[in-house]
Point group: C2
């Protein structure tokens, strides 16, 4: 793969141009671009520029409203709804998080349902935003069905990521963001693009047989991580992201989608709570004892540590040259 | 193994006698017995009579208060604390669930922190109690460290079960209750007792090597399910059950324990929320579409279905004769 080294500022400008030239208003383009830059900054390439062509496809097809004006409302003092006006999720989330954080900080726990949005980004920046306000956060989404329940070979679940963040004293928060599939869909797609094999257990081919070929899995079905336990957690994610929000289950999202390659419409479930209000004074020092114990164990690694290390790297990022060319091409509108 | 067939009523009487003869007052003995009978009724033998000797050991050593008088209070309209008065968890939970359910039904979401208790039972009856009130429920506990973080061979996590329930229309709720270790500690102990081997990946022996011998794993360390992802979820459980409650992390519980074989003191985190308030009208029919789709897939099985099938079986349960003899022996107080 030929790569080009781009600064985060160049990555920002390239993404912003692609979104702006394809129907995003400045607010939506800005929010979307922030998710792309954060992903490339932290080394999460499958959620960075790699997603821009998909975003643009849905803007061009008209499926996603590039000028969405998300509305935030309260259903109760501790239930926030962010209605995304059929746009991409980031702007609705940026507008909703302050209301969610305020409710959780005041009452101790609160929930936000995100509806009428199209989600195509990583979840960890969203829960990190809560941890930055000294709140614990949980979030999950559920989109296209491409993961089979344990014991079967028919897709029902999305890759159904679950993210969790816990604030730490004078340190980056503890954060994980995991697909509940054995491998994230984006990573399987990248492996297929780059001609790499994937571990057995990642998925099944179109005949329901195990395979290490990511291209065959993309035609077949992914498997949940961790057997029946991961499958149960994937089910929980469907129920939270769709059942608890009133938005579409993965299978409904697919049925209603236009197949343009971008993300279908769906929901997201957010939880925020205040360790300070729940556990009381001293909670930070108490938790640091646990993290100290964890980090002292040889061979162990806290989830999220790699991202935080990447974040401190201010050098240019190596980006696939073909991808850059594709995005530059997309910056010229087809009708201009 | 020689077995004796006991009715649920006989199981009830045997457990109640053991608790009553070893320092439990009627309220605590009744609550404990209900967890034992529910476990045997639903085929969850590792949480049934099998636990009685451990319960009795901690009553006899004086570690656990058999006459505990749990107190329920609110820290905010949506934070309930159940202080177990250093007794076993079931009575505190029975007293706290109504306050948690009331808050979740009124505000949409609520949390309960359980503190100053000793937990030795399954979690599914606790979240099922919420689902019976048309609430979704989540619960987790964290006790003795016997599970190594992914990549290491030193115990840090408890088996850290996570349970979740979702209410269904005219059907038993969707419920899972999973150890975040590859296998529950109780199941490894039963495999060791019965001389069965366990799958590779269950745990490591005392030298840190993989083994299928459950007795060697009991001397070594268990592994999380699902590699680094299960390890992340086990970490989340520590943070919820101890960090968010102010109670002991697994390693602290061990440090403070007297080693009598019963459960150490720890906390529990409960979450309850109302799908009706969050998602609005029609949520039940919406979710039944998902469950219908799930159950129609060949090879798939909803978690919890086995327990609900066992529950409808009204015949006697086959119980290890040696276990019955042990419990009968425990019904005679050592000082009587």
């Amino acid at each position: 793969m030929t790569v080009v080294n781009l600064s985060l500022s160049e990555i920002h400008d390239l993404a912003l141009e692609a979104f702006t030239q394809n129907g995003c208003d400045p607010q939506n383009a800005g929010a979307l671009t922030r998710t792309v830059v954060a992903a490339e900054r932290d080394g999460s390439h499958s959620h960075g520029l790699f997603r821009v062509p998909g975003y643009v496809a849905s803007l061009r097809s008209g499926k996603v409203n590039g000028a969405a004006d998300p509305q935030i409302s309260n259903k109760s003092p501790v239930i926030v709804n962010a209605n995304g006006d059929d746009g991409y999720a980031p702007l609705a989330i940026e507008r909703g998080i302050p209301a969610l954080a305020k409710a959780a900080s005041e009452f101790g726990i609160a929930v936000m349902t995100l509806t009428h949005t199209h989600h195509f980004a990583a979840l960890w920046p969203e829960v990190e935003a809560l941890a930055e306000q000294n709140l614990a956060g949980m979030a999950c989404v559920s989109y296209m069905p491409n993961v089979a329940p344990h014991g079967s070979n028919k897709p029902l679940f999305g890759t159904n990521p679950l993210a969790f963040a816990w604030p730490r004293k004078n340190k980056p928060p503890f954060v994980f963001d995991m697909a509940t599939s054995a491998m994230a869909g984006g990573d399987v797609a990248i492996a297929a693009r780059d001609g790499h094999s994937v571990p057995l257990g990642t998925g099944l081919d179109e005949n329901g047989n195990e395979t290490t070929d990511p291209a065959a899995i993309l035609k077949g079905v992914l498997l949940p991580f961790g057997g029946h336990k991961g499958s149960a957690i994937a089910t929980m994610v469907e129920l939270l992201a769709a059942g608890a929000t009133g938005e579409r289950f993965s299978f409904e999202a697919q049925d209603a989608d236009n197949g343009d390659g971008g993300p279908p419409r769906g929901g997201e479930f957010f939880l925020a709570f205040s360790p300070s209000l729940l556990a009381g004074e001293g909670w930070e020092d108490h938790c640091e004892k646990f993290f100290d114990k964890y980090e002292a164990i040889p061979g162990s690694r806290l989830p999220g540590a790699r991202r935080h290390n990447n974040r401190s790297d201010t050098t240019n990022r190596a980006i696939d040259a073909k991808l850059i060319a594709t995005i530059q091409e997309l910056c010229s509108r087809p009708d201009s």
